[in-house]
Amino acid sequence: MALQNTPVVPSGEPGALAEIANSRVQRINRPEITDQSQIDPVVLLFCPEGAISRSESGFIISYKLCKGCGICAKESRGITMVPEYTGPAGIF
């Protein structure tokens, strides 16, 4: 019998979900930053994934976390949604 390695109290590790984030599977379009100076910093608070952060050089989008919901592009200038997949279209 193979027992899993579990804690005594059923629980999960903090922040551990972000390590295996594979948000790309939900992405049909992805946000691209077109103009840093036009971005409204409110997108930091509108992103459901916490994928947008700010550094010295400006806003950064984490594509590990981004699911491509499009809220940032809709609520702010300077970000546009582009298709995730630009190869040949299938017949589905």
């Binding site: 019998m1 027992l3 579990t6 109290v9 059923p10 629980s11 999960g12 903090p14």
Partner: protein, 382 residues
């Protein structure tokens, strides 16, 4: 140790007070409420440093106590029958979360029809809950078991129910020896193990898939089975510390040469003891097995004492519909494959019904007659 004359409810409240509980929540229900009121009085008189949460339902009572335990406090609550059934969801949840809560259950019959009289129907419904189930013969047992329960629960990380019957035990005055507070403090050192800890945050009770759930359940069961070893150890340590006379998993009374054994738990043990003494005067070789621990079911201990007995009468103050008495069913399962003694389960005392010497006599005679039904419990004293 000092001696006092107190009711079962007062004994339970005293046990919790000596254990220095820190968070208390309860919802009043008959016949447990005097114990609840006693605890509130201890708090308001300044004798017990405890936070009381005046919840709005029994379900919330156990939920609030669970919150307290998760945040690292020693907690206690009381309930019975309808309240116990309302909080059943939380009961199973607490055991799965491995939280060391101690709960006093003042056994009472279940509705419908509505009854307020003593019986084990309510605790039997929690047989599979994962809580360790202790039973008390008298008020001394109630006090002793309550104190021991905290040590057992905190060591095994398994919650414990201390069962005693409504009115027969909860409202009846008996002489009880009370241990000193300092000695109880030494017996129950507090070691905090909060699951919700700001210095070590975790996400408790995440949605769990089939890869992990069976492991959690297996480990929970293993911890419960550890109690078979731990309960006698704790009882021995208790007796040594306080000069008490608490039993381990069970107590054998006049069983050395017994041919017929009574097996019982709860207040009926007291009646059974008298019956054994009376019947022995008539030359019958009868003995009594008092069960203190019902969950986990002490199979080995029972087998040891019952291996040479010809007749076993199991006294059940409960009914599992379609099956019979719960204790009888457990016992018969435990003796599967062993020699062919006669195991007769009898159901008596339901809803406060008669369960005196006369009824025990009927039961014992039935076991030894040819009319014993092999597969069902017999109803006595309808």
């Amino acid at each position: 140790m000092s001696k006092v004359l107190i009711t079962g409810n007062e004994a339970a409240a005293l046990g919790a007070k000596l254990a220095r509980i820190e968070v208390l929540a309860y919802y009043p229900i008959t016949p447990a409420f005097p114990a609840m009121e006693r605890l509130s009085k201890y708090i308001e008189d300044g004798e017990l440093n405890c936070r009381f949460i005046r919840v709005e339902s029994d379900h919330s009572a156990l939920a609030a106590v669970l919150g307290g335990t998760l945040a690292g406090a020693r907690c206690y609550t009381l309930t019975n029958s309808q309240g116990l059934l309302l909080m059943t969801e939380v009961v199973y949840h607490v055991a799965g979360l491995r939280q060391p809560i101690v709960m006093g259950v003042v056994n009472r019959a279940l509705s419908a029809p509505h009854s307020r009289f003593p019986e084990h129907g309510d605790v039997v419904s929690q047989a599979g809950s994962g809580w360790i189930q202790l039973f008390c013969e008298n008020n001394q047992d109630i006090l002793d078991n309550t104190i021991q329960a905290f040590r057992i629960a905190e060591q095994l990380r398994t919650p414990v129910m201390v069962n005693y019957e409504g009115y027969l035990q909860s409202h009846t005055l008996e002489e009880v020896s009370v241990p000193e507070q300092e000695k109880v403090d030494a017996f129950l050192p507090l070691k905090r193990q909060p699951a919700l800890d700001l210095t070590n945050p975790k996400g408790v009770n995440t949605v769990t898939g089939p890869e992990f759930y069976p492991t959690y359940k297996y480990k929970q069961n293993e911890a419960m089975l550890e109690a078979l070893k731990l309960v006698p150890e704790v009882a021995e340590a208790y007796n040594k510390q306080f000069g008490a006379n608490s039993c381990g998993l069970l107590e054998a009374y006049k069983m050395e040469d017994a041919e017929h054994a009574l097996v019982a738990m709860g207040s009926i043990v007291g009646t059974a003891r008298r019956y054994v003494d009376e019947f022995r005067k008539q030359g019958k070789k009868i003995g009594l097995l008092k069960l203190k621990v019902w969950r986990p079911f002490p199979v080995e201990a029972l087998r040891k004492h019952l291996q040479n007995v010809r007749f076993i009468t199991v006294l059940d103050k409960n009914i599992v519909y379609g099956v019979g008495g719960a204790l009888a069913a457990d016992l018969k399962a435990a003796f599967y494959g062993t020699n062919d003694m006669v195991i007769n389960g009898v159901i008596l005392g339901l809803g406060g019904g008669k369960c005196g010497l006369e009824q025990l006599d009927q039961a014992v005679k039935l076991t030894e007659s040819d009319e014993t039904e092999k597969n069902r419990s017999a109803w006595i004293a309808l």
